[in-house]
Every structure is written in C-alpha cells, then in structure tokens.
Point group: C2
Chain length 521, copies 2
C-alpha cells in the first residue's frame, strides 16, 4: 500500500498484534485514527456514547476473549470519563490498550480549552504510559503498548498518548507486538511446602483460589480434589473476574463481603495457601473491626501469584499430594430448580434466574445488595461464567456485558444490576442495541442506595434526620427503567411477580437480542 | 453542642465559611459526612446519580452564586467520574471544594478493591490538594480548602481527601475560612500604556474581554464605551463562563470557534489589550493552520488578568481615556423577534428561543454545531445570562443547568444541548426533577456527532468507507429523548416544526418546573 500516516501505522500494528476490537468515543484529535479504520483492515470499532462504556467493555472483552481490546479516548476528559471502569479493569487484571488522542505537539504548549494534565491522569490509572513523539515511532509505540498490556497470565492497563500531528503526519511504520513472556509455574520447593502445609494442618489450613485459580475450570477441579483429599478448607476470593459455575462444576464457596462472616470463615486457620489469590482484606474499614481478615498469626504461603500459571501450579500441588481429580473429586449435583411463582423475594428471583439461565450464559453480577443471596441456587443452574465487579466502582456491569458479549460471540449474557449502579453507565444500553448483542439486563429497582443504608450502620454513623435519609433513597422521583431502556433503543418490560420474571427471562434469552427487565422490589 | 467528630466539624466549618451547598454522590467512606448533615445546620445537600452531575452542578453554582459549593465524592473512582466536569469548571475558573472520602488510615496500606492512586488523580485536576491526618485537623483543613477555592475574582479547584477514620473519630474542631485576598486592580502605568495603545492604534488595536470583563454588565458597558470613543475593535473571548446579553446590553461580539474566521477577525491588529482574557489560541490544531490566532508580531498587553478586578481596571482605563459611559455608549436596541412558524432551521430555532426567553433567564449553551448561529438573534431577546462550556469536555450542560438554577433561585434556566453532548451526563435530568428546578432542556437531535463530521475534514482526514462514517452517526438506533426524560421523571415533548417549538418553550417556561423538548433536526 501507499505510505501510511501515524494513525494508519497504529491500526495496522494493533491488527498485526491481535488487537481486533476498539471500543471508541472519539473526538477531533482522534479523527485520523477513525479515518484509518477504513483504509487498514483488521480492527473492528464499536462506538460508545460515554467513555466509561468503552473502558468497561474492554474489561469485559478481556475477561472472555483473553486478549486486550483497544479503547479510543479524547484527551484528558475522555480518559477521566473512562477512569472508574479502568480502575475496575485494573483490579480485574484485565489487559487494555488505551489510545488517547492529544493536541498536536506544537499546540499543547498553549492553554487551549482541552489542555489538561493528561500525563498526570494517565499515570494515575495506568501500569504503562507512553507519549508518541513522531509518526515514524507510532507503530513501535503501539506494539510496546500491546506487550505492556500483558503480565504473564493476567493483563495490565497500557496507555498510549497520540498527539494529533503524530497521527496525521506521513512516515508511519507498522510494527507487531512481541509475544508476551509465558506465565511462570510454581517452584518445586514452594509446591512441596504448600503440600506439606495442607496435608499436615488439614482443616486448620485454607486453600484460597483467585485469578486463574478461580477462572479456569480445570484449576477449580484440581483445587476441589485437593481439598477433598487433604481435608483443607477451600475458598475463592470474595470477588472474581470470572468464575465458571453451575451444574457439573465444583461450586466453590466465596469469602463473604462482610467483615464478621469473613473472619468467622477463616477462624482457626493456621495457614492460607494462596493460589492466584492475595491476602484477604476487608472491602472497607469499620470502627473496631479488623482490616486483615485472616486470624492474627496465620501464615500466608504464596503457591502462585495472580500473574502466574495457576492451573499448572495446582497441577503440581495435586501431584505432590498424590491427588487425582478422577478419583478424589466428588461432585454434588444439585437438583434442578423449578420455575417460581408468587411474590418477588431474593429467593424467588434467584430461582427464576437459576431455572431459566441458558447453557454457557455469561452472568455479569452488579446486583449489589439484591444479589448477595444468589450463590447457593446458582450451583443448580446450567453451566455458566460468573463475572463480578472487581474494583468496587459501580457502573461496571452494563459496559462489561457489552464487552463480554463481543468477546464471546454467540453466548447469551445476563446482566444483574442494582438500579443505583446501573445509572452510572446506562448509555451502554445503546451500544447493546446498536450491536444487536444478546444481553438480558435485569434491573433490581429497590429505589435506594440500599447498600449504603446498611453501610451507614456498619460504620457506626448515627442517622438523626431527613437529610441523611434523603441521600440514600432514589424514589423521588422513581426512575422508570422501561422508559430509559426504550429511550436507548432497547425493548423493556416491568415485572412484579416471580412468574412474570420467569417468563420475561425466557422471552429475553430466546430473542437473542438485547432487552431489559425492571424488577420492582 | 456535644463534642463533634471530624465529619461534623467539616460540615460546621463549611457552613461557617459560607459554603451552603453540597452536590453529593456518597459511598460508605462518606457516611459520617452524610450523617453529620442532620446534626449540623447550614449545608444543603443535593443528590446526583453520577459524580459528573455533582461536579458540573458545582461549576454552574459558582458561575451564578459567585461562591463555591462543595462536592461529596467516593474515593478515586468518584473523583474520576467527576473529573471531566471539574476540568470544565477549572477552565471556567469556578471555585469548588471537593470532599473526597477515602479508606481509613490503617486500611489504605492494603490492596482493597477501592484502593487507587487517589493522590495522583486529585493532583491531576486540582489547584490545591490536602489529605486530613486527624479528626482534630479536619476543620482547619476544610477552612483552608474553602480559602484555596478562591483566587482573587475567580475560583480554583480545591480537593480535601477525608480518610474515614478522620471523619468518624471524636475531637473535631470547627473552623472558619479566612476572607480571600481582594482582587487586584490594574497598576497606573499599565492603565496608561493600554490607554495610549488604544487611542493611537484605534482600529488597529483590539480590546479583548474575558472573565469578569465579560461577566460583569458594568464592565461590558465600560468596554463598549471605550471602543466607541477610541475606535478600537472590541471582542470577547470565544468561550465565556458567563456573559450577560439581550436587549439593553452592548451585545459584544465573540471571537469565532473556527481558526480561519478568528484569524480574519484579528487581521491587521498591531496590539491586543487583554482585559480578563488571555492570548487567543485555536481550540484544536489543524495541519497548516496557526495555533496562535493573533497576527504574528502583534503585541499582547495585559490590562488585567482573569483573577484581577477587571471592572475596576476597565474603569481606570475609561478614566484615562476620558470615556464616560453615559455619553459615549450608544446601544442599538434591536427589534423584538416575532415567533416563527414552519420548518425547523437554525434561524427559526433561534427565533423561537429569542421570542420566548423570559426576563433574566440563564441560558446554558451546549448546542455545539446547532447553536453556532444563535448569537445575532439573541441580542434581541430579553436580558439574560449566557453560560458556555469552557473546557471542551462535553457533558457540562445539563449538570451546569442544575447548579445554575440552584445558584440563582427563581430565575428560569434554558439548557441548549446537542444530543451527543447531552448523553454524557443525562442523569442530571433526575436531579432537576427531584429538586423541582425551573429548567427547560432543549435537545437538538441531529443524531450525529455533527461537529466531528466537520472536524474530520478540518484535520484533513480522508474518509474512505463505512467504518469511519459509523463512528460519527448516532441514528442506529435513534435515541428517544422523550422516553429518556420520562425515565428520569421529567416530562417531555418532541417537536418538528418551529411553531410547535415556540409553544413548547412557552409552556415549559410557564410551568417553572423541569421539562425537556426534543427538537428533531
């Protein structure tokens, strides 16, 4: 082809490096990148109406596709709007390549309206930041960004700042990212020590899985077999970027969200063996409650870090303990759940979901308070993947559903949303409609920041009047989620009993198109 | 009263320092601040469903009330969601006191889900950042934050990070912010030099007003009288945080957005006298076009910086030139505009607005492409204030309308919005409904990022196919703004001719309640 400009060399580099998706909300400084999409094949661009949708979608895409997507963002404010979901992605250890346009090199010296501390905000959220200096270097910079979005088995946030003149100038040279270094297994001595610990302490030890230890079905089965053979306790971290569940899976229990039950769950443990997990820490601090959840004095042994090859480490651990999955793993297959009827309760909602969930569904869990009781019944649902918000920044769910649906084409997606959470990034509904994604979004409309009503007590704050109460309730006016969905081009229905919910879920999954169900609680 | 905790001392300090409003989107770490609102009088808290609404509202509040509001935000992600509108506020030179909750001091050492580089992101957007260390210091820190939100006649972004334990611990001591230093006038020698320049160069000089030079009606009249007497050109900056306009005002022309007409407007000028303004710079850079808009070699003379007392400086300049407003200012009062009918065109839309705008309305201009032609006809409208987005980050308009309505109680507000822009922070509609604010929101639904279709050509990018086109169009699916408004509790109507628009505006202003008008273009 003819000589490329910098933007074209970047698109060519991303395509050659396996980055096939770009979630975009572009502006003037990104116009050459946009124009390059038609001249250079290999990158599909998906438009978002708000940058938090683009970054959250890139998170969901990594979790399902296992490779980074790019985002295309407009200067400092674009990165600002994407920051919260980049935070969530960072905590999920998702790999993302942010391409952030900036003013041309000569222009950025002056105080124009969109001039901001772009370097500062990029540094505050990224593992890796680079600013391209010349069109001829954009390709190599892009290749370095893709490599930087990998860290062994997990991903990182890489941000490439692309001044407009480096995009529009001629002399672009396409490059290709080097293959990332393979994830490490566990050293033999570490495996031996972990094996001795579990075998000798038995129920006084905990095998705590996270990252690839929870996300990989083989790793889950290995961990469950090790627990069955040794008698150690087996737990997953309380939030997981991706966790296979449902019938035929081991159904590994998670650490609870609240501090007291977590401490209780770990009580009496003398050692925690970490397989892709990190030390369990309370989500928030509360007056008089511990931050570290393990018993004081309990040992922490790292079998494998999140970025390591956790399934391989667990395989080595199983071998050292003479564990054989086929022999030692006993799966308890729960009865299928019958479709419920009658009033909407946490139990009947969970039953409706468990009864209707299609095979290989991807469930995005941002149900917050409403969703805490779902775990037990979901073990009886069809095999599925369960994705959780990892960084505590609400508004991850609907965008993550967009990215997950695109990252795992053909698989149905169920997004479980609190009404307060869903409002942060409701613009994701429009991208679902635009891309005809098979996402069923369920909004639990309790018309309150219900979690905060609990947290207020948890931190010991005394509510003495209407002003504080007013900050935690969303019923004045009530949000109409059917109208909000239709406004974004997504058909919607409101349900107020469990039978209606069941039928709405069935219809939604059967349509293989986006729809929204408002559940009045 | 009983001994206060840190949060209570902060609320008491804000109230004592004149900060009466708090735009809030709180989380667990802010619960003690929320609880304190009922125990300590003097601060009104307004809830937003997204932090960008809170920060944009604080911007609009400062512009109308002339004093800072507080925002209440939840850790790094809350500040991230508010970043873009803090950027806009910073460029508008609005004063804001951000209160950002953080994990307790003992907790923040650990890698919990919401742990982030809060210091980094706070630094990237704030003029002033402090992290409270102990409950006993929170009051003094709050007082310092309020003082830091002032810089002479303009405001700054002050961010106070409040670890949860400094909020909940006893020992709080209320404080009160010191009075900010008064804004400086212009030194006599500077005034003399500016007077000589304008008097001698006449039409080869430009008096460029900005900040308080544009926002203050007296300053506008002084500037217009100076131009009438000396023959100098008079221009306002192309974006202004607040600019009185309409009948009985001088109707000062603004520099155009586009580079070529701006350069043309300044052609032949040998000196620019800056009265609250700064050197005019292009919004973006374009290949082959200048960044600095003034003629090469033209002198820049600063009569008054934005933070100075610009009206006083213009008064001194008028005195040095023997200008008397009563004698030298001739106002051309344009004919009133008749209500239009027929097709919706930029002209008929502007006529409908000019014909129906109530006295003392506040107009929030985020109409982007649609709104560029409104200027001329608005000179014939009733006297009003015109507020523009200052930082180029779209999504400022609806939140700014919330804050402006609260900052100037009783005044009607008209928000002019592009459909692309309004989608960034549409959650502001809910706060309008909740607070019964008299805001008429007009959405210009061209179903495209129309500005980008122009910018694409402006930067010389070659569009060769459907992928680029797809990134700039919003019609698949079409957004239904009537449904979106109703979903947020705001009544709405769709219009497709100028007569309907006129009647909808009349009904909306008469209702003195929020409503939305979708204008199909």
């Amino acid at each position: 082809m003819n000589e490329m400009n910098g933007a074209e060399s970047l698109v060519a580099t991303l395509a050659a490096s396996g980055v096939e998706l770009c979630f975009a909300n572009p502006g003037t400084s990104e116009m050459h990148f946009v124009a390059a999409l038609d001249r250079i094949p290999g990158v599909r661009c998906v438009l978002a109406l708000f940058e938090g949708v683009a970054t959250g979608a890139a998170d969901g895409y990594w979790r399902m596709a296992g490779k980074p997507a790019a985002t295309l963002l407009h200067l400092g404010p674009g990165l600002g709007n994407g920051w919260a979901n980049l935070h969530n992605a960072r905590k999920a250890r998702s790999g993302i390549v942010n391409v952030v346009g900036d003013h041309a090199t000569d222009h950025v010296r002056f105080e124009s309206p969109l001039k901001s501390d772009l370097a500062g905000i990029a540094q505050s959220i990224s593992h890796w930041v680079r600013r391209s200096q010349r069109a001829a270097e954009v390709g190599a910079d892009g290749a370095a960004a893709v490599l930087a979005a990998h860290d062994g088995a997990v991903g990182r946030i890489a941000t490439l700042v692309l001044p407009a003149d480096t995009a529009w100038s001629a002399g672009g040279r396409a490059d290709r990212a080097a293959a990332p270094a393979p994830a490490a297994g566990a050293p033999a001595a570490t495996v031996e020590a972990a094996a001795r610990t579990l075998a000798s302490l038995r129920e006084r030890s905990v095998l705590l899985i996270g990252a690839g230890g929870a996300a990989d079905e083989r790793a889950q089965r290995l961990a469950a077999a090790i627990a069955a053979k040794t008698g150690c306790r087996l737990l997953a971290e309380f939030y997981n970027a991706r966790m296979p569940g449902g019938r035929g899976r081991p159904g590994i229990e998670r650490l609870p969200y609240a501090v007291d039950p977590s401490v209780q769950k770990l009580e009496g443990a003398e050692a925690l063996v970490l397989a892709g997990s990190v030390e369990p820490i309370g989500f928030f601090a509360y007056p008089g409650k511990p931050t570290q959840l393990k018993p004081p004095g309990a040992a922490l042994m790292t079998l494998a870090r999140p970025q390591d090859d956790v399934p391989r480490a667990l395989e080595a651990l199983a071998a050292a303990l003479d564990v054989r999955v086929e022999r030692d793993l006993v799966l308890h297959t729960p009865e299928r759940v019958a479709a419920p009827s009658g009033a909407l309760t946490p139990e009947s909602v969970a039953m409706a979901i468990a009864a209707t969930l299609p095979e290989q569904a991807i469930v995005i869990d941002e149900a917050v308070t409403t969703g805490r009781g779902f775990g037990r019944l979901m073990a009886a649902a069809a095999p599925h993947d369960w994705l959780q918000g990892m960084g505590g920044a609400i508004g991850y769910g609907l965008p993550c559903a967009v990215g997950a649906a695109i990252g795992a084409p053909g698989r149905p997606v169920l997004a479980l949303e609190g009404d307060g959470s869903a409002m942060y990034t409701l613009q994701a509904l429009w991208t679902m409609a635009r891309e005809s994604l098979p996402v069923v979004a369920v909004i639990f409309a309790n018309r309150a920041y219900r979690i905060l009503q609990g947290e207020l007590k948890g931190v010991g704050a005394q509510v003495s009047g209407p002003k504080a109460t007013d900050m935690l309730t969303l019923d004045r006016p009530a949000l109409d989620w059917v109208a909000l969905a239709q406004g974004h081009g997504v058909p919607a229905v409101r349900v107020d009993d469990a039978g209606e919910l069941t039928r709405a879920l069935q219809r939604g999954f059967a349509s293989r198109m986006p729809c929204l169900i408002e559940v009045l609680l």
